[in-house]
């Protein structure tokens, strides 16, 4: 049995890999477009970290530690970069391939299954998110914003954020009917960015607002990346990881179900 399970798993991975290869070939001529997404996060870092940071100076964390505001904000913007890279890739690009270009219609006439398509898109989104994260971490280090060796772990932490938002983006791509739906998505994303604990500790919000923040996936991503890059570890991080992983699994599963029911008609 295990031999069969192995060969099935290998075939399945190579199928999602060929979806990844397709995206690679398609984007080969448009790398500037891919890189521009990462530059946006860097602009945020400069504007808020160095601009606002210079005004605010140092802040005191709820735990009592005192750090520079730039060091506080940077991990959150990093988490945001990981989110945006994958969310845009999976939602808008997958929606275009699904509804407008009908790319998947052709692909499903081959041995590929909706599951392979969904997984392939997740891998690709992870790569795109990874590029943004890489650009960002290098910049953070160059400006002396990486205080601890734990920061090395901020990179894999971003993979969890990317995974979660890849799943979410895929689901949205299959649920959305037309482009105006994306305006709503961007509004929600912006709200998460502003209120998910990016600029101030969540503990400083009024009590009634805090549960709302805890539901936001970006909040969990920010907590994780910030904790690791400041070397401020807590058991709550396991919960953050669990939340993000669950979101990734649920999102990818729903997406492949939706692709099945839309394309296997």
């Amino acid at each position: 049995m295990s031999v069969i399970a192995y060969s099935v798993a290998r075939a399945s991975l190579s199928r999602s890999g060929s979806m990844l290869a397709r995206n690679w070939v398609a984007m080969r001529r448009a790398w500037v477009l891919v890189l521009s997404g990462g530059i946006e996060s860097l602009l945020f870092l400069f504007a808020f970290g160095f601009g606002v940071g210079a005004l605010v100076g140092d802040i005191t964390l709820p735990g009592g530690a005192e750090i520079s505001y730039t060091a506080f904000v940077a991990p959150a913007i990093l988490a945001n970069a990981a989110m945006m890279g994958t969310l845009l890739e999976t939602s808008i690009n997958v929606f275009a391939k699904f509804k407008w270009m009908k790319v998947y219609d052709g692909i499903l006439n081959t041995p590929m299954r909706p599951w392979d398509v969904a997984l392939g898109e997740v891998w690709w989104a992870l790569i795109r998110g990874g590029i943004y994260v890489g650009m960002f971490v290098v910049t953070m280090a160059a400006f002396g914003l990486v205080d601890s060796w734990w920061a090395v772990l901020a990179v894999p932490a971003c993979v969890f954020i990317s995974l979660a938002f890849a799943g979410l983006g895929l689901t949205l791509a299959t649920l959305f009917r037309d482009w105006p739906d994306f305006d709503w998505m961007m509004a929600v994303v912006f709200a998460m960015f502003l209120f998910g604990g990016t600029f101030t500790p969540v503990e400083s919000y009024p009590g009634f607002a805090q549960p709302l923040v805890y539901v936001m996936p970006l909040y969990h991503g920010i907590e994780l990346v910030r904790g690791l890059s400041l070397g401020d570890l807590s058991p709550m991080m396991l919960l953050n990881v669990a939340y993000l992983t669950a979101l990734a699994a649920a999102g990818t599963w729903i997406a492949q179900r939706r692709l099945s029911s839309a394309l296997y008609k």
């Binding site: 397709r22 070939v25 270009m101 790319v103 219609d105 052709g106 081959t110 299954r113 296997y264």
Partner: protein, 318 residues
Amino acid sequence: MPAETNQTLVRAQDLRKRYGDFEAVRGVDFEIQRGEAFGFLGANGAGKSTTMRMIGCVSEPTGGEIEVFGLDPRRDGTAIRGRLGVVPQDNTLDNMLTVFENLTVYAGYFGIKRREAKARAAELLEFVQLSGRSDDKVDDLSGGMQRRLAIARSLINRPDLVLLDEPTTGLDPQARHLVWERLFQLKQQGVSILLTTHYMDEAEQLCDRLVVMDEGRIIAAGSPRELIDTYVTKEVVELRFNGLHTTDLAEIASGLGGVGAQIEPLPDRILVYTDDGDDTSAALEVRDVRPSSVLARRATLEDVFLRLTGRALAEDEA
């Protein structure tokens, strides 16, 4: 090896597909043999494409049985699709890729290695006469070229059976003939072909055997010659009356009793089915009906279709 003791590629029994209240395919039976060019002939909405999609394992039957290569599409879709070549009605080419990449990337979906994929892609572009357009974007190709590329793509995995859904719909006459030539060549190479069409001449030229579908059912089956022999006479005399209204035609037709084997008034002409066109034309002259034109010709599949469905295909055209 799958349980393929004989040469039957597809076997369907009482196959059905229902969408909500609408039953698109209402219990069809057919068998497709290896090496055969098999056709589904019918108007739009007859259930041809739906049946094709069920064979292609991208649509799950809601009733009946279907076997492709001796396998069950509900369970073995991946294995079956790996041995099929599919040319969908709307091509579904990847317009973010070049012509050449459309073939090599598609080969990847079948797990074909890159070197092999490139070799096959070059060979297939040669076959469909698109070698000079390798690096062009798909959107820059004409409709006929896109269809030829879709045909090339469907052959990348050296399929045991090629499914073509209306391969020449929407193409200009020249492009149609190019596609027909390629399909005819494939046939000669022994590739099994299954195509849907609403063009009678296409079915007559390409299909060894076909079924006529109407409203989700198969209403006739056989070779083009068999169908003509069974359902219509050897020849047909077409009478046209310039300037006369459809109701006038019906009246004239009712006065033609006794001429030929059967009379069929259509909106624009009257068809007289007969075994001897010259005899019948002579007999009509005696009747003093004064048509503006008389054409005696061999019966075609189109006549079969008109007899069977009692209406012109043109009515169903969008």
